[in-house]
Amino acid sequence: MAKVRFTTALNSFFPDLKDIEVNGSNVHEVLSNVEMQFPGISNYLREENGELRKHVNVFVQGKLIKDRQGLSDKVNGDHKILVIQALSGG
C-alpha cells in the first residue's frame, strides 16, 4: 500500500487527518481512496472536474506528478506520496 502524507495546513479542515496507507495503482485511485477515509477532502485537493487544483501539488517518490488533469501517474505499493500546497503569494 502507498504511504500518503499531507501538509499540516489541511488539519485546519480535517483535524483527524494523518499519514495513511491506501491502495491504488495511480494517483487518481490513491486520492479516491483517501476520500473514502476523509470524506470531503477531494473538494479541497481537486476541481469539480477531477483535475488537481492549481495551487495543490502531489509528489510521488519526491517527484511532482506530470498528469494534473487525469492524475494517471503510476503508483506502486511501496511508494511515498506527499500532498502539499504550492507556494504562492510570497
Partner: protein, 360 residues
C-alpha cells in the same frame, strides 16, 4: 438578540454587536481565511459564509446558531457545463446569496464566478445551475459576457421584487442587468439607457458593468445602480435607466451604494476619483447623499478622514438598515453612522480588507 453586523474581510469574519448606540466587535470566525461573501437570511437568521481559499478552492459554510457552530456544505457545481467551447466551467468564487422570497422557505439564489446563477430549494443541500441564464444566447459571446479585471464575468447582485418572488434581477460584470418574470426560466437584458464607454458601441444591449444594483423595498419599480460608467436610477423596473451622476462628473465612479428602504429618492454612494485612479477624490474619504432622486448630491462625511485617505469601498461593503449605515474599506477601516449617514465614527481601523458587510 441584539442587532449585529457581519463583516467579511480578506482575513476572517468579524461580528459586531450593538451596544450603547454603536457597535463593538464581539466575535471573530475563520481567522486568517479570505471571506468571499457573507449573508444573514432575514427569514430564519441563518448565517452563510463563503471562503476563497487560495489553495483549496471556494468553500461554503452555514451557521444556524449565530456562529456558535458551523457546517460546511457542498459548493455550487457547474456539472459538465463549459464556460466556453472546450473550456470547463469551474467555480472560482461565490459572490452573493439572496433568499428567494418569504413565500419560498428554504429556497435561495446564489451568484458565482464564472458568471452564473444557482438555486437551492432545500436550504443548500442541493444547489443547481439556473439553465435559463446559463443558456442565454449572449453568454457564450466574448463581446457580451467578459471579465472585468478578471478572467471571467461574475454575477454579484441578485435583487428580488418584494411583491413577486418570481420576479428578480441579476447584475453581471461584465454583461449587465438581466430580468426574469418567471423565476429564472427566461431572462431579458435590462440595460437601456446605460452607457459602456469601454465598448466600441457604448449603447450596446449587453456588455455593461453594473457594480451594484439595489431595488427600493417600498417602491420596487425604483432601482438604483452604481455602474462602472456612472450612477443610474430607473423608475420603471429597469426598462429604462437615467444617469444621475453628479454635476461636473462627480460623483460618478465607484462601487458602493446604499438606498433608503422607504424613500425612493434617497441614496448614498462612496465615490472613487475615477476608474484609472481608484482613490478618493482629493484623498478625502467621502459619502455622498441624494434626497432628490439623484438631481443633486451632497457630501455627508463628518467624522471621515478629510486628507491622506486611500480607502476604496467595494460593492458589497456598504449597507443600510433603518438609521444605521456601515461601510468597510479595502484598507481595513470600518465606519458606522447611526444618524442616516450625516456623521460617522470609526469602529475599527485595524481590520483586513473589507469585502462585504451585512446586517443580521
Amino acid at each position: 438578540m441584539k442587532p449585529q453586523i457581519l463583516v467579511a474581510t480578506s482575513k476572517g469574519l468579524i461580528v459586531l454587536t450593538a451596544r450603547d448606540n454603536s457597535y463593538l466587535i464581539s466575535d471573530i470566525h475563520f481567522a486568517g481565511f479570505p471571506i468571499s461573501f457573507v449573508y444573514s437570511d432575514p427569514r430564519d437568521g441563518t448565517w452563510w459564509v463563503g471562503i476563497s481559499h487560495k489553495h483549496w478552492g471556494e468553500k461554503l459554510h452555514q451557521s444556524s446558531d449565530f456562529g456558535m457552530s458551523w457546517q460546511e456544505l457542498k459548493v455550487p457545481s457547474y456539472g459538465n457545463s463549459e464556460y466556453r467551447p472546450g473550456k470547463p466551467a469551474l467555480l472560482r468564487k461565490i459572490w452573493v446569496m439572496q433568499h428567494a422570497g418569504v413565500d419560498k422557505p428554504n429556497c435561495f439564489w446564489m451568484g458565482t464566478e464564472p458568471g452564473a446563477l444557482f438555486f437551492s430549494a432545500d436550504n443548500g443541500q442541493t444547489i443547481t445551475l439556473n439553465d435559463g441564464l446559463w443558456n442565454h444566447a449572449s453568454r457564450m459571446d466574448d463581446q457580451q459576457w467578459f471579465g472585468t479585471g478578471k478572467d471571467f464575468p461574475f454575477l454579484h447582485t441578485i435583487a428580488i421584487d418584494p411583491r413577486n418572488s418570481d420576479h428578480l434581477y441579476v447584475g453581471v460584470s461584465c454583461a449587465g442587468v438581466f430580468e426574469t418574470m418567471d423565476s429564472g426560466k427566461n431572462w431579458e437584458p435590462r440595460n437601456a439607457g446605460l452607457k459602456a464607454t469601454y465598448l466600441p458601441n457604448s449603447k450596446s444591449t449587453i456588455g455593461h458593468d453594473p457594480h451594484q444594483l439595489l431595488i427600493c423595498p417600498a417602491h420596487p419599480d425604483v432601482i438604483w445602480q452604481q455602474n462602472h460608467c456612472g450612477i443610474y436610477r430607473s423608475s420603471d423596473g429597469g426598462k429604462m435607466w437615467s444617469e444621475v451622476s453628479g454635476e461636473d462628473g462627480f460623483p460618478y465612479y465607484g462601487f458602493a451604494l446604499a438606498i433608503d428602504e422607504e424613500d425612493p429618492n434617497t441614496a448614498w454612494v462612496i465615490p472613487a476619483k475615477s476608474d484609472t485612479a481608484r482613490i478618493p477624490a482629493n484623498l478625502r474619504l467621502e459619502v455622498y447623499r441624494t434626497s432628490d432622486a439623484g438631481a443633486s448630491w451632497r457630501s455627508t462625511s463628518s467624522g471621515l478622514p478629510a486628507k491622506n485617505a486611500f480607502d476604496i469601498v467595494l460593492r458589497q461593503a456598504f449597507s443600510k438598515k433603518g438609521s444605521v449605515l456601515v461601510f468597510g474599506t479595502n484598507n481595513g477601516n470600518l465606519y458606522l453612522s447611526t444618524d442616516y449617514g450625516e456623521s460617522w465614527e470609526p469602529i475599527s481601523q485595524n481590520l483586513a480588507a473589507v469585502q462585504a458587510v451585512c446586517f443580521t
